[in-house]
């Protein structure tokens, strides 16, 4: 019942990326996200671009380094998702 699906949905990948950023105190390097969300570099770049377009994460350049942070919209989305995840999980459904 609570077994994880074989493949992650796009939504799950987005949430995993955003959770890594949140875990890194809302200031995460791409390499940390890459390892934390278990993604290849190409896919990470693609998903980060999509998330930026959605307005849930922002990119900050500090010298040669790039950092990612959650926007207010992203934080609200994660809170909503957490409630939905718990609701679905209470019934035994994995999102």
């Amino acid at each position: 019942m609570t077994q994880k699906p074989k493949y992650r949905s796009q939504m799950r990948i987005y949430v995993d990326i955003m959770r890594v950023i949140q875990r890194e105190e809302n200031h995460a390097k791409p390499t940390r996200i890459l390892y934390g969300a278990n993604l290849s570099y190409d896919r990470l770049v693609k998903h980060l671009d999509e998330l930026k377009t959605l307005g849930v994460i922002g990119e900050i350049a500090e010298g040669d380094d790039r950092f990612y942070e959650l926007t207010q919209k992203g934080i609200e989305f994660l809170n909503q998702f957490r409630a939905v995840e718990r609701f679905a999980g209470a019934f035994g459904f994995v999102i």
């Binding site: 077994q3 699906p5 679905a88 994995v94």
Partner: protein, 225 residues
């Protein structure tokens, strides 16, 4: 179905409370579906929407029965209300079972309970509440076959939610398991009501407690950060 005379009206009131809770659950499932596009949440939404519609109609039919000027009128109104509620429950439990079956299929496992669900669905389609057995007096309408079908269906859901709780040991899952267990017990007491009118009361109390358990889960899920 009608229990002791002193209980008339209370059953409708309890169903009205359960209706509000079912609407809240349906709404949360819809929010979840809109956010995640997860199909199982859509089925949960549809299931609880059907349940809430059935609860509202049966509750209103109960109140209409009370204010009906003739005994025959009261019996007809409550009977129609029950039949609609039965169909709503059939659809709702069917959708929830489908959600579990399809979710398990997504996880690439073959549940032994899938066969049971198909059989229950078949039995449910054969059952009709149109011919209730009249046991004692014109007011006591007894629907054993529909209630047995509903008991079997909701027992399947209770088992699924019980398995989920046993693997996760999560309190939210416990409340959902308790809810469906209480709903299953309520149907059992509705089946047994010819043996004692009080069983009808117990059935309604258990049904309400089941919905309160779902409400507890919902409040925990939506308020805890």
């Amino acid at each position: 179905m009608v229990g002791p005379l002193w209980f008339v009206g209370f059953d409708s009131l309890m169903e009205l409370v359960a209706f509000v809770i079912a609407v809240a659950i349906a709404y949360q499932a819809l929010r979840g579906y809109r956010l995640t596009k997860q199909r199982t949440l859509w089925y949960v939404h549809l299931g609880f929407a059907a349940l809430s519609a059935g609860l509202l109609i049966d509750s209103l039919a109960g109140f209409l029965g009370i204010i009906a000027r003739t005994l025959r009128g009261a019996v007809v109104v409550t009977l129609v209300g029950y039949e609609i509620y039965f169909l709503a429950q059939l659809v709702a439990y069917g959708l929830l079972i489908y959600a579990y079956v399809s979710h398990t299929r997504t996880l690439n496992t073959t549940p032994s309970t899938t066969v049971l669900a198909s059989l229950l669905g078949f039995v449910a389609l054969q059952a009709t509440p149109a011919f209730p057995i009249r046991l004692v007096g014109p007011l006591v309408e007894y629907h054993p076959i529909p209630e047995i079908v509903l008991l079997l269906l909701v027992t399947y859901i209770a088992i699924q939610t019980g398995v989920n709780y046993s693997t996760t040991k999560d309190q939210d899952a416990l409340f959902v398991f308790l809810a469906f267990l209480l709903l299953a017990l309520s149907h059992l007491f509705f089946i047994l009501q010819p043996f004692a009118a009080l069983f009808f009361v117990v059935g309604h109390v258990l049904q309400l407690l089941g919905y309160v358990s779902l409400l507890t889960m919902l409040v925990r899920v939506t308020t805890t950060r």
